[in-house]
Subunit: 256 residues, 6 copies
């Protein structure tokens, strides 16, 4: 089984090392190939990032199918580019966000997402709506640490714990979804810390769940419905020119 | 990994042979133990069957946890006894009905269940409501072959195909869920026959999906939330006497 | 008019005395017969209790119809066994939980259930979902007094009042449903105490409402739809052996 | 127990005779007083009729409370003026439309309304939405006989039967609500005729159900929540002048 | 373009001066005619007011169409009489409440209504339900200043600001709808004051939005669907007699 | 007032001529600037097209704000790039799809979209879900004419009429939304042809409605909520390299 693992950001991190860290989460026979998009932004935290990086995901997803991969994994809890890639491909395409919500919806009555920045709150609510489980998502909380600062951040676990406890005690969450794939590894400690506080709840981490789910789909010969994700009509596409999107932020001074 | 596979009906079928047929659907390291309930009805097709057979499921589920199993699978698309067993146990309990709907909800916009008898239609609608995906379930259709007559029934595949085509073309289904675990094996042929008619849709079979999903939960150390499925308070239970439930049907002549 | 009043727990309380207390809530011509199940648990506070005690309800309900009763009342706000009994019977079967929610939904925009233990919270949410009024149920609160300790409990009214006031002022409830039939009698005092605090809201008690509603259905010749609650197919049922369900609680030490 | 029965149309029918026909539907001790509004339209079949006749209902409802009645019944399946009257009064006010839907929602998974004219279809859908059971109402069908022609109309039962069969077989209804109180009496025959066709479903008639329900509320000391139906602030009201609303229909010729 | 602006209360205010204040909100070519109803109550704050004043709205709306107006505007955020008037007329009829919610639903994920008295809270929730956006309305808050005291009230802006900040920070509102048309003019200052507190959100005022929307409909030849708002059947209407509705408030002493 | 009109496809059509055709739909003082994206696909008919063309929309939208435009219009009924552009900009951004649904939801109980190809059906259902009006959208029908063949296509009006009549008579639509902005101009004839068949319903065309709505927002100083559409965090963006997305369609031969 060959799985293409798409990193939907521009990154300088050594992908070989990233791949090594993923191996515990796939079955012995699975071959994983990791590739990042060549253009776009350095993290995914907003509708804007989703729009900018989706096209790179499509490029890699299409290539993966042409090269004979059995499935495609998009490493972002916002499932960016998922629907477009599912249309273009016949092999299964999985994003961890949607399946995390569906699994939480199975194991618990209600769930919260604890994510990186408040910019991701609206995108997560939209994801829950399109998944059909908007009523079960009782809150989206943010730890206010940007994705690029997550790695080896000593504040990660304490803030995750704090927001998770608030999600459970204030918002009524019965399960916690980690809102960024790069929180990978925190799920075990967070589960234990919550249990020590009397809250025995599932803590769902996107990469482990998503990779296992994709393996399961491939194993069972299941893929996205081509009635829901119809193959796009053949048409002219032109992308020769470069693109000029800025990462700067304009502030409307006049309104203040 | 040890999984307890509960057959929630009274049956005379050789369970060893049943177990043999299940082995292709579990991973190499998984040990499967199959056991049927000792009392109840011979099939599950109604709320009545669910109520009658749930208690036997609880008995076996509790025993399984005491014997050190890692997870429990309840072999019935109606997920009978699921919620009660999840309360009583801390190891993960999976019924294939709910997860089949969640997986269909991931892979497709809409889905239909094609089940055995029209008696199961209301129970499946209730299952979809409690799963939160009632809006996505566009129809429940029945082939009108009782569970006990499914085996080696030459009519199974043609009627399944016929109802599935109607579900897609008349009701707008984009995925098909087989409504009885004992339709096991029909998913591959049905997928091909539907594709030949131009409908490339996932056909979901409960046992393969449910067993793989349970393995995934065990592998990831995930289990039901004890906030949603709280441990029941200790209390007096008395079950020494026998029970007298009839399988007969009373007809109200006066109304006609 | 003959009504069978099923007490869905094992109990040693003198049923004659219970019956006497119910007489003010039925019309002069109504004959009430009270019977408790012979096996099961001593109270209903969880999905587990529902699953264990449903079969005893079915046994009594079936007997009642055979003996010519006009209707069956199941004395539990969780409506345990209701759907199965409605399938098996053609005479009307009423549980007080669902009708309490429907009546609250008529008299008020929103309502809360104030129940015994937090174990009942999830079951009540499920009941509201299947009733179709999940959006109107703004909270389920518990007084943390087990059913078996309710009787003559001096703490009952003060805690009921406290939680009801919180339901109204914090959660936005416009009506209160007493979450256990054995809170019978508290509705009048609670109504007055809430009114004294400026909250003129309906307080709904399950037994009075449910019995009157069942009388109304019988009087109007209304019963459950046999399209929603189809008569179960005739089939083999075997219940000769005893059942071994424990009331003990296993604790997963390993998770802590 | 004294109940005010408001006939929310201008009518020349002898109200004594109407009252006589209602007596079988109230309990022995109940005193019924029947009164029609003094101004408005001769039937209720649209939002327009609701708006025009509500004020007359308010006038009579307010008078009833002042005269010491215990409850008010508004004889119209569209529940016209119900919410305003509930605000103004503290005694319970019942309209048969909403409770018919709630009762149908208890006894069946789905229901249809079979009403007089297609003009009432939108108002019934709005009523279902405000009741919270819009998803359960699978269709509103009309027999195209105006209210004023219902009495002794030989076509009533055959067309009711025809539309009810279509509601069940085409739309999936599991219960039938008669969409006009003046179809009173048809429920028994229709129930039998549907049963003869194999459809054992509840047929709900507004006056019997509504009157019994109102008696039940009065008996149980239940009334509308004053948090949902707050007493209107005291203010200046002026109604000395007459009103000029026409019953004529303007047709926009220009659009054709 | 000629627009009829209906003031749905009895009022002594000089309508010419009111009209003058409205002119900035209509396009140069638009002719506005302002008329108040001749009977009814002096403000709209409850279901009761809606029921009482709707008939006056119908009278003026019908007259407007007969006189050749191109559209009708009803000046009340509760959209009183809207549905009935839309049935009777073929020219577009607009109430500001519904369109304010739809516009808020476009510009923001969630919104709150900040209204005059708590009596209006339930009517606004009903309006949101019938608009289909009940889930997006996170709260209805009141400033507890009656409509008749709004004008030149120094407390208006501070209390509006206070409740709006609570709506945003406590309830999660992303847009604010002013709950009374007579708060006209406060939207600009409130927008600025909220922005100064870091909340850049749309503040929607009913008259400006509603008038512009009506102009847009007229310009585009759009009007209400005559399938949703069918022309009422011709029938006898009688309104010669006066009506006796009191503005007094009865208090039920017995309950306390 | 200066509006940027973004054509979100690569096109060779003379934009001056397109602009000329739009002038009747904007107010006298409005200055319209029309610009197409420089890269992407030649039409928008799928999730794939949305993902590919969104980035070009962002580029132009950002430029428009920098150049001092007052608002941005995205010419596509699928509202592609809308959410991302709303995050990046503070001036109002309007896509015609969402507002068409909201307007249809105001004028009618139910509506259908009649679009170009069946590939657009799922995207339109997703748009309705995120708009919150999924329940009101009774069907999405396609005329099976690709966007690029719409112009001067003699089949357009007859097929539009045919599908609209089916939407009304079979699916229960009370309003019709034209599913492609390039059906511009068909709305008037279609309205008349439907009225001749007795169906007086609004027919909503995206460009006229969307442009007028955007003018209205600008006029009223309303824009998207910055709480729902938060300004994205500043971050590194790299787009120097070209992109390689094919317009070809891969077919999975193995499945057939």
């Amino acid at each position: 089984m060959r799985i293409k693992f798409i990193v939907p950001i521009i990154t300088r991190e050594p992908l070989d090392r990233l791949k090594e860290g993923l191996l515990p989460y796939v079955s012995p026979g699975t071959k994983l190939e990791v590739e990042s998009i060549r253009y776009g932004t350095e993290s995914n935290e907003s509708f804007f990032d989703e729009a900018v990086n989706s096209i790179g995901v499509l490029e890699l997803a299409e290539k993966a199918q042409n090269e004979g991969f059995d499935g495609v994994f998009i490493e972002c809890m916002l499932d960016l580019g998922l629907e477009a890639a599912r249309e273009k491909l016949y092999i299964p395409v999985v994003g961890p966000g949607r399946i995390a919500m569906l699994c939480a919806g199975d194991l618990a009555d209600t769930f919260s997402v604890v994510t990186v920045l408040e910019n991701s709150i609206s995108p997560f609510k939209h994801l829950a709506s399109s998944t059909g489980l908007r009523d079960r998502l009782v809150s989206v909380r943010s730890i206010e640490i940007p994705v690029v600062s997550l790695k080896d951040n000593a504040r990660l676990l304490p803030t995750l714990l704090n927001e998770s406890v608030l999600a459970i005690e204030e918002d009524g969450a019965h399960a916690i979804i980690l809102g960024c794939t790069r929180m990978l590894g925190a799920e075990k400690k967070l589960t234990r810390l919550l249990a020590e506080r009397g809250h025995i709840v599932p803590v769902i981490s996107g990469i482990p769940l998503g990779l296992k789910y994709l393996e399961m789909l491939i194993h069972l010969n299941l893929s996205q419905s081509k009635l829901s994700y119809m193959t796009p009509p053949e048409k002219k596409v032109d992308f020769r020119e470069g693109i000029h999107i800025s990462g700067d932020v304009d502030v409307d001074e006049s309104i203040l």
